[in-house]
């Protein structure tokens, strides 16, 4: 039971909004000590794990390229480009990205996407610009809510697409685990059983995205009527948008 002290620290830390780096370091050290390791050995384990997991940090390598293009007006160009497609709405832009991301991940192309290389420089500006084209300047909370939806689409498309690809880490992990327990299975069988969930994920999230357009229209129309909005009206709209997007 004492080994769960780390989990407790993490939950309390996130609850009381202590700096997550501190929380995680404290949880790691407490877990190691509770598991019977000497303080020096805990430090060794922490250092070894951090160095072994350096590949997680590689996403940041793309930042110089993205920054360079932002400096040259990539977001502005994307917004102008979306303005030419009258049929584009936030929901439809995100729906298209969901489909592309999920199909690409299912083909093993998980690197076609990601928050640093696709969401921030390309997809989020498109989704915002599509809403602006139909509703005029957006209030900041709406802008933020649209961005959060864009990040969500990237995650959902990735998670429920990649497991259809036979050489992805999770499929290989399942295969290895089952083999250790005396069950031999081909990766293709595992990938096949990921398809029903992939379809369900797409249907559920696509429905939400199409409803998002309607809710955006409704809450932004209310916002326009209240112009120039008094402070409380603005707060009300904010709440509405938050509810609509929750």
């Amino acid at each position: 039971m004492l080994t769960l002290v780390g989990v407790l620290i993490v939950i309390l830390g996130f609850l009381f909004r202590v700096n997550p780096l501190l929380v995680v370091a404290a949880a790691g050290i407490a877990t190691g000590l509770a598991g019977g390791l000497a303080p020096g050995a805990v430090l060794d384990a922490l250092g070894r794990a951090f160095i072994e997991n350096r590949y997680v940090g590689i996403v940041w390598l793309v930042l110089p390229v993205i920054g360079l293009l932002e400096r040259a007006g990539l977001k502005e160009r994307t917004q102008a480009l979306i303005g030419r497609f009258r049929a584009a709405t936030t929901g439809r832009v995100l729906l298209l990205y969901l489909a592309v991301r999920q199909v690409a991940a299912a083909l093993g192309l998980t690197s076609l996407g990601g928050h640093a290389q696709m969401v921030r420089p390309l997809v989020a500006p498109m989704a915002e610009a599509a809403a602006e084209m139909h509703h005029g300047t957006l209030p900041l909370p709406t802008r933020h809510a649209i961005r959060a939806q864009t990040a969500a689409v990237d995650n959902i498309g990735l998670f429920f697409g990649e497991d259809i690809f036979i050489a992805i880490g999770s499929i290989l992990l399942i295969r290895g685990f089952l083999e250790q327990n005396g069950i031999l299975v081909q990766p293709i069988e595992l990938a096949l059983w990921a398809i029903p969930t992939a379809i369900a994920a797409f249907v559920i999230h696509a429905t939400r995205l199409l409803l998002l357009d309607r809710r955006l229209a409704r809450s932004l129309a209310a916002h326009a009527l209240a112009a120039p909005p008094a402070a409380e009206a603005r707060e009300e709209v904010r709440q509405e948008v938050r509810d609509a997007l929750a």
Binding site: P64, N155, W193, A200
Partner: protein, 317 residues
């Protein structure tokens, strides 16, 4: 042969440059905190493969203390004004997408072809890491094309990288820290304790109850560990194999394939999955740190229910 080490050295150079830019920026009230933080992170990439584990551990602690108690600040990077950006967007048009699309395009090409390239009998790249190495090479190529095309000041990529890393702040290191925590959890056997508690206190007398406990357990343990991969062996060995497969005769292939996806529903709802849920909050400059999780919960919960139903109907055909 190019290995992952090559990419780590590139990362080290980038982060070292960011630390240097920070050290020279007197406008940042937290100038030396930023310098120390990114400098230490750079050292972990440059020298990590050779440092004793204890020194690396001390380095991680030092970074944590700097970020946690001193805090990081935002400096001022020389960048372009909104008007300059609009003019530049007008001038370059769709050509701006070329470097942006070179990154995924060349990564894909490299992943598919580099495995087979060898020079004098020695393979060019480490085949197990081909995607990450291709990503590194693609980024270098895109940077070269971008520089040749746009002709910005030579230090611009570094200043821009620094501007973006400053917006992300310490959250940039959080995914790696959480992965390390997962390793410590695994070492101490946290998952086994959770699985034991579940089987002891939750009644699992029918196939449906067992399947639901497994699906929900996968999601919950994934939320705690931040990673479905860490939760999968524990919950599957704890509940799925002995009960669902052993006692009720369910199909282990269906159960484990969909069980993993039930875990992914947990990933969508957990701040522990920082690279998916917290990093975009920082990158997109959102004021609510749970904004992405809140956007995902209404999809994650129904999908978890669907996964449990799918396991129940497909595993006991």
């Amino acid at each position: 042969m190019l290995s992952l080490e090559f990419i780590y050295q590139l990362m080290g150079v980038l982060l070292g440059g960011v630390a240097l830019v920070n050290a020279r920026d007197a406008a940042n009230p937290r100038r030396w905190s930023n310098t120390a933080f990114w400098g230490l992170y750079a050292a972990s990439f440059l020298f990590g493969s050779w440092l004793p584990a204890r020194v690396s551990g001390a380095l991680v602690l030092a970074m944590t203390l700097v970020a946690g108690f001193r805090g990081l600040g935002q400096g001022r990077s020389p960048t372009t004004s909104p008007a300059e950006r609009r003019a530049s967007a007008e001038r370059w048009g769709n050509r701006l997408y070329l470097p942006a699309l070179l990154v995924p395009g060349l990564t894909l090409l490299g992943t598919l072809t580099l495995k087979r390239v060898s020079l004098g009998g020695v393979p060019l790249v480490d085949a197990r890491q081909v995607t990450l190495i291709s990503l590194g090479l693609a980024t270098l190529a895109a940077l070269a094309v971008g520089m040749a095309m746009l002709r910005p000041p030579p230090a611009a990529p570094l200043h821009e990288a620094r501007r973006l890393l400053d917006t992300v702040g310490w959250a940039a290191v959080l995914p790696q820290m959480l992965a390390s925590l997962g390793a410590l959890f695994a070492l101490a056997g946290v998952g086994q304790v959770v699985a034991e508690l579940t089987t002891r206190w939750v009644p699992l007398e029918t196939p449906l109850a067992a399947v639901a406990a497994y699906g929900i357990g996968m999601a919950l343990l994934t939320m705690l560990m931040g990673n479905a991969f860490a939760a999968f062996p524990v919950m599957t060995a704890g509940i799925a194999l002995p009960l669902i497969v052993g006692r009720f005769g369910g199909d282990p292939v269906v159960i484990s394939a969909i069980g993993m996806l039930a875990g992914f529903c947990g990933t969508l709802m957990s701040p522990m999955a920082a690279n998916f849920n917290l990093v975009p909050v920082a990158l997109l400059e959102l004021p609510d740190e749970n904004a992405v999780i809140k956007a995902q919960i209404p999809t994650a919960l129904p999908l978890l229910a669907v996964n449990i139903a799918l396991m129940y109907f497909l595993a006991f055909r």
